[in-house]
Symmetry: C2
Amino acid sequence: MSPRPKIGLDLFTILDTAGEIADQQGVQEVTLAQLAKRLGIRPPSLYNHFDGLPGLRRKLAIHGLDRLYKGMSEATIRVSGTDAVLAMSHAYVSFAREHPGIYEATLLAPDPEDEDVQQAGARIVDLTVRVLQAFHLEGDRALHAVRGLRSILHGFAVLEQKGGFRMSLDLDESLTFVIRAFLTGIGDNP
Amino acid sequence: MSPRPKIGLDLFTILDTAGEIADQQGVQEVTLAQLAKRLGIRPPSLYNHFDGLPGLRRKLAIHGLDRLYKGMSEATIRVSGTDAVLAMSHAYVSFAREHPGIYEATLLAPDPEDEDVQQAGARIVDLTVRVLQAFHLEGDRALHAVRGLRSILHGFAVLEQKGGFRMSLDLDESLTFVIRAFLTGIGDNP
DNA sequence: TTTTAAAACTAATATTGTTAGTTTTATTTT
DNA sequence: AAAATAAAACTAACAATATTAGTTTTAAAA
């Protein structure tokens, strides 16, 4: 009934290879030509697996969000309160460090409104909501805080990656300081 | 002695046009072909004004940083303390809202280590340092705080721009909340 | 064994960036 | 005013990319 793919390539292999290119050569080098060359096929053959370059970017964004979520999620087990936020935050920037290209691809989807992309992102938002619940924020303040934490994490990851932080000052210490300050300012700390 | 440009185009006009394309159609649409078409010349002619697409991106980044600095700087005159940080922050995200393409180009320089790019960025960092001096942070804490504020601003601007904030919750209120929380957490508030 | 459909292929086209070399023309110099 | 200079445009040509159309191969399903 539902015919399965031929021997050849499966989507996971393709996305993994695309992720390698992104991390090693930069996300702008993830072209159909480069990807096909690494996979040992011709560029048009890739259209059997996704809908052109926009389709690849879309799938790569989802793939990246899933992997980022996994890292954040695992970091928060068996911790709570401030420690949980700190652990999640360091997992976030660690992922961006280890996979700069995949992380960048995370926000490179052609249509950010796409349902599957939204869903992959929503899991991360939900995790952030959960980890901030220990701070007992009421009403809109909870939503403001989630936006704040996400802003810090994304901004920090990008600025670190793009060489925005020039001072010779430990990056992890900076992140810890910033997160602690933000949580302190939110109040009602556990 | 120093021969001036012909009648034709000067760099300011070119960068302005490039900025228009970036804001209206997205930064990825800033191609030599598109730019040349808008200017009424042929693509190769652009090489008389900058060194290919990387050169254009470099100049556009500097141009954007200068304009961003101008907005931030003007917002901080005749205010101080928390008010100054808030004013500067809202000026920052306002610029990103009004000029999404130019703002994005700000971090798209081919070589972030480039001296002129660094210098344009350094003015913004210096302004941030100055505006945080009212909080009397000692030693490394001052540097951590600068990194934190920049992370918040960039992260907030990008997530807002890329549709990362889905809740129907006022964006400016979120920014105010986040900045206030961060400043409170830093302590010694004026 | 036959049928089917995925997954590869070849061939061709449009767009873009880029280089090389040429021409035009405003400005400077004589 | 005439000549020289150099910026700034041009044409022509090429390489790389994404993409479409149509074809062939081949593993899986019937």
